[in-house]
Amino acid sequence: MEMKEMTYKDAIRLGMSEEMRRDKNVIFFGEDIGLYGGAFGLSVGMLDEFGEDRVKDTPISEAVIAGAAAGAAATGLRPICEMMFMDFVTIAMDNLANQAAKMRYMFGGKAKVPMVMRLPAGSGTGAAAQHTQSLEAWLCHVPGLKVVTPSTPAQAKGLIKAAIRDDNPVCFIEHKLLYKEKGDVPIDEDYIVPLGVSDIKKEGTDVTIISYGTILQKVMIAAQDVEKEGISVEVVDPITLYPMDIETIIKSVKKTGRAIVVHEAAKTGGLGGEIAASITESEAFDYLDAPVLRLAGLDVPIPYNRNLEAAVVPGVDEIKNAIYKVMNR
């Protein structure tokens, strides 16, 4: 596959742009996404290429952004809409969860709602409690939505394309701290990262770590570190958080006998519980040599101060300690 190095952010833009070239029914709207290029500069240049009919600035009105996407999707378009920060989806939850997600089912299978909602998430930017949340667990608890999140530039491109082509409402969670991460991205316009397929990011035999998003990088560092000490870690990135390809995870845990779930979102009510419980109630239970551990954000709003903010999310050392813990049993 021919590759080009680019950032996560550029990869998302490329994926969106390719789909917009391919299908004129794909449109894109949100706050300050046009001339300004989005709060993170992600969509810079898209207005120039696609024009005001297809790249549309909205007023600051998150509820109607989500609802209009649902309405447009149900009537022939394939809208991509953006919440400037994932935290603002709190304003759009009715339109997302009560309308977009349920329309098809409520109407007996007659509606189709092919929309994508882009959601920049996560902490580490010093933006404090209302601009740093990781709310994927809420979205995964809404039947009718799909929830995906890429952790590399290549995934970002392939996954946004798959999300746009999907006939359902897809929540596409982006990690702000990854925006500037670089990586090789297939330039093939048919390169797709299919929804619902977990990625084994690293093979190993002693312990399986399930993680996604920004913190996956710390997991990889921890995995490489302990490898030197003779502990072989398998790392699985689910990519699609809902509906999740749990089979791949279960298979891995049956092999390793140990599992740790690591995410940035607050621990209580986070996806860690869902994944841990799914593993434990599966046939992998009989293979478990240790309880499935969860390592996640503290149950606090995200503080502003840099040190405090950093203290909320597990670091490499904590991940290594968790590995030692499951190995020592």
């Binding site: 009105s61 609802g67 009537t75 022939g76 339109n95 309308q99 409520m106 359902n168």
Partner: protein
């Protein structure tokens, strides 16, 4: 375009269908034959039916929780509406939606909505599709007076205005949001005045006058179809029944209800047609009979329809 006799008779037919249908719904509920709740629009038939009939064939409609007159006015099949009410497999939503979610996206019916104000943003999106795809179609968005206090009203009208979308926001002001009278839920006389916040036209009409409703919507559709942007119409009307199946109606007087019953929109349309010699008593009686028959058939169809198979419970979550 002047209202033809044919259109008027069809309107009269659908208004009667709606009335008979809802009387039957009340009957079903009184006997515990239906699950859930329902919101009757008896007394609002001119508002719900004549407005939809003023649209062109392919125009779209978004309905409310009080949507029976609206969907019957739109021309949905009474059999399948009734079947849906009874939760049957043959219903518009295969029994998954019920009274509050009757929908038929294929024909442009974007669905009734259980969320007060839930139709606003959906309608904006549907109107965006029409504009973008240059279909020449418009969206008629039904909503209630109470719903205009939801944030979604504000965001939706503003966005529709900026983008000059082909959508008519049609507020059925029946004087109450549940038990709360309009003077307790807003501090202005006419909801239509809220149009000024968005730089769009706002019009008040007598929602019990089928002719006025029809003609206003026809003109509004023309306006918005031609690219002039959205429009807000306030249709003053009244619901005769309680808010939903259980409502002691302590918040209003019997006199008020009687006063409005005297303004029956169906009788009024009948009188108009007779006084203007558009149709005879016999013709109109016949139309009423036909509506009654249609309803009987619909009830029969619905009752004889099968229940959805329990296995279908997991169908249709995803496309």
């Amino acid at each position: 375009m002047a209202l033809t006799k044919e259109t008027l008779l069809e309107m009269y037919f659908r208004m009667n269908e709606a009335r008979f249908f809802e009387e039957k719904v009340a009957w079903f509920f009184a006997r515990g034959m239906v699950h859930g709740t329902t919101h009757l629009s008896i007394g609002q038939e001119a508002s719900g039916v004549a407005s939809c009939m003023a649209l062109k064939k392919c125009d779209l409609v978004s309905a409310t929780h009080r949507g029976h007159s609206q969907v019957i006015g739109f021309g949905l099949d009474l059999n399948r509406i009734t079947a849906e009410l009874l939760g049957k497999e043959t219903g518009y939503c295969k029994g998954k939606g019920g009274s509050m979610h009757i929908a038929d996206i294929d024909s442009g019916n974007l669905g009734a909505n259980g969320i007060v104000g839930g139709g606003y943003a959906i309608s904006v999106g549907a109107a965006l599709s029409q504009q973008y795809l240059k279909t020449g179609r418009v969206v008629l968005c039904f909503a209630g007076d109470g719903s205009t206090n939801e944030g979604s009203f504000h965001e939706s009208l503003n966005l529709a205005s900026i983008w000059k979308l082909p959508v008519i926001f049609y507020i059925e002001n029946n004087l109450y949001g549940m038990s709360t009278s309009i003077d307790k839920h807003m501090n202005i006389k006419d909801i239509a005045d809220r149009a000024k916040s968005y730089g769009i036209p706002g019009i008040v009409i007598d929602g019990n006058d089928a002719i006025e409703v029809y003609e206003t919507i026809e003109k509004a559709a023309e306006h918005t179809r031609s690219g002039k942007g959205p429009i807000l119409i306030e249709s003053k009307t009244y619901r005769w029944s309680g808010h939903s199946k259980s409502d002691a109606q302590a918040y209003r007087t019997k006199e008020e209800v009687e006063e409005w019953k005297a303004k029956d929109p169906i009788k009024r349309l009948r009188k108009y047609m007779i006084e203007n010699e558009i149709a005879s008593e016999e013709e109109l009686n016949k139309v009423e009979e036909n509506a009654a028959t249609a309803l009987e058939e619909a009830v029969e169809f619905a009752i004889n329809s099968p229940e959805p198979k329990v296995e279908t419970v997991t169908d249709d979550v995803y496309a």
